[in-house]
């Protein structure tokens, strides 16, 4: 099992640890509900150093990114980031990712899911026929997400960079907590506001940054947060999780990711024809949000049925939502059953339990 720069910290702090994507990661500290509330109401720190980072450099870097991703990266100027996806040739998804424009037309950073680092690297390399310089810096890069309505306020004294006024999906680079070359971006996976902080994992940087954040945040009650609350927070926002809600077989159009599938961008890309056809014909199934009406908690892979007991889809994610105090989920259903307020039934231990399709974000 691999470690992040913070694995020993998590263990020392008494976190419940488990393997995730090959890394020894904290699942929870004080409990998922407590951690979830801390992020929604105040501020919490996630170690997400397991995520993968690739640097793409050179005059053809943008061209390569345009050909392998669905969003339009030509819209990015230096200091901007975008959410995007990597389609495969069948119109499924190799991964979802963030694209950072470090230097327009020259240097980009792709941030990918930990479980897909090797797959994504191979996939992008396979399409790199114009000698774009590619570096997999995943193992040398530390990443903390500091999320919550008070996160930026707490961190601001640690840097001269203006993070209080950083716009969503933009970033700055500079000195943070005495560490040089830190990238701070107004992104995250919680919907609670805050930043993500990328830094080079060398010379004790990780230790310096972690300690500085917890020292300055102590008075405000900043807390370390595990992956368990990360999952409930993202699910309340309806953010897709690769491997659950999206995978090699799901189309971004089915998954509600039409907004990052830019069929009119000034470049051809993998599976564009398939997506164009899907858009014209309409997707046959859709990822919907639902909440339970009767008691029960939906889980990944549970079947979804209609009132007559016909299977109409399956649950991709589900939980008791800590902020909402109700059980919610995401799942694929046939398009006929996908309208808001449609009554659906989640098959929980062979019992059909009533739910209804609702808008998401849920929170």
């Amino acid at each position: 099992m691999k470690s992040t720069p913070f694995t020993q910290k998590h263990i020392a702090l008494g976190a419940k640890m488990a393997e995730f994507a090959g890394y020894n990661m904290p699942i929870s500290y004080s409990g998922i509900n407590d951690e979830h509330a801390a992020v929604r109401k105040n501020a919490g720190v996630f170690d997400v150093s397991h995520m993968g980072e690739f640097i793409l450099k050179g005059e053809n870097a943008l061209d390569l990114i345009q050909r392998v991703t669905t969003n339009d990266a030509s819209k990015l100027t230096a200091g901007k980031a975008q959410y995007s996806s990597l389609p495969n040739e069948k119109g499924g998804l190799v991964d979802d990712l963030l694209v950072y424009c470090i230097e327009e037309n020259k240097v980009y950073m792709l941030v990918v899911n930990a479980s897909n680092i090797e797959k994504d690297w191979n996939w992008i390399s396979q399409h790199n026929n114009k000698n774009v310089e590619m570096h997999n810096v995943s193992d040398k890069t530390g990443l903390l997400a500091i999320q919550g309505p008070n996160a930026c306020k707490i961190l601001q004294p640690l840097t001269d960079l203006d993070i209080l006024n950083l716009k969503y999906y933009t970033f700055v680079k500079g000195k943070f907590a005495g560490v040089d070359n830190v990238l701070i971006s107004a992104t995250g996976y919680t919907g609670a506001g805050g930043v993500e902080i990328y830094f080079e994992d060398k010379d004790g940087n990780a230790e310096k940054i972690w300690n500085a954040i917890f020292e300055i945040g102590a008075a405000s009650g900043i807390k370390p947060i595990g992956l368990g609350a990360r999952d409930t927070l993202r699910l309340e926002m309806g953010f897709s999780l690769y491997g659950n809600d999206i995978d090699d077989t799901t189309s971004p159009l089915e998954a509600g990711l039409g907004w990052i599938t830019k069929l009119n961008k000034p470049s051809d890309f993998v599976a564009k024809d398939i997506f164009a056809k899907q858009k014209e014909e309409g997707a046959k199934r859709k990822l919907v949000g639902f909440e339970m009406i009767e008691r029960g908690i939906p889980r990944h892979h549970y079947q979804i049925k209609d009132a007559q007991g016909n299977v109409i889809g399956y649950v991709t994610s589900g939980t008791q939502a800590p902020s909402l105090n109700k059980a919610i989920g995401l799942g694929y259903v046939t398009v006929e059953n996908s309208a808001l307020d449609s009554e659906i039934f989640i098959d929980i231990r062979n019992n059909p339990v009533k739910a209804k399709v609702v808008k998401f974000p849920f929170a």
Binding site: G31, I32, N33, G228, G296, I297, R299, T319, Q320, A327
Partner: protein
């Protein structure tokens, strides 16, 4: 972690405690609640049923996961702890007390002799 002496333990991390004659209370252990994390729902639909030892008598839903509940000894499920309907978190905060899950009528109280003592169970989860 807490390992009371007045209950017996199973390898599935349930406890059982004789309260009166052949009437016993059943719950999950402190270790089990800690592993599951925040418990949000205890789903038991077997009241009135006679079940064998190690049969599933219900499920416990935590935020992150779901786990089956196994009966420690053969008997009839008499009652569910009604407080858990509104306060499932009692399983986390008081697993051997107010967080009990079902009351059963044992077919043979001597079945408890085959279960683990506090010392044996502590070794199992150490």
């Amino acid at each position: 972690m807490n390992f009371p002496q007045d209950v017996k333990y199973t390898k599935d991390h349930e406890w059982i405690k004789l309260v009166d004659g052949n009437i016993a209370l059943i719950g999950i252990t402190d270790f089990a609640q800690g592993e599951l994390g925040d418990i949000v729902y205890v789903d038991i639909t077997t009241v009135g049923q006679s079940l064998n030892a190690e049969e599933v008598f219900g499920t416990v839903e935590a935020v992150k996961t779901v786990s089956d509940l196994f009966l420690p000894a053969t008997g009839k499920v008499l009652e569910v702890n009604a407080i858990l309907e509104k306060q499932p978190e009692l399983v986390n905060t008081d697993p051997y007390g107010d967080g009990w899950m079902v009351k059963i009528e044992l077919t043979d109280p001597a079945d408890l002799d085959g279960l683990m003592s506090a010392e044996d169970y502590e070794k199992l989860v150490a």
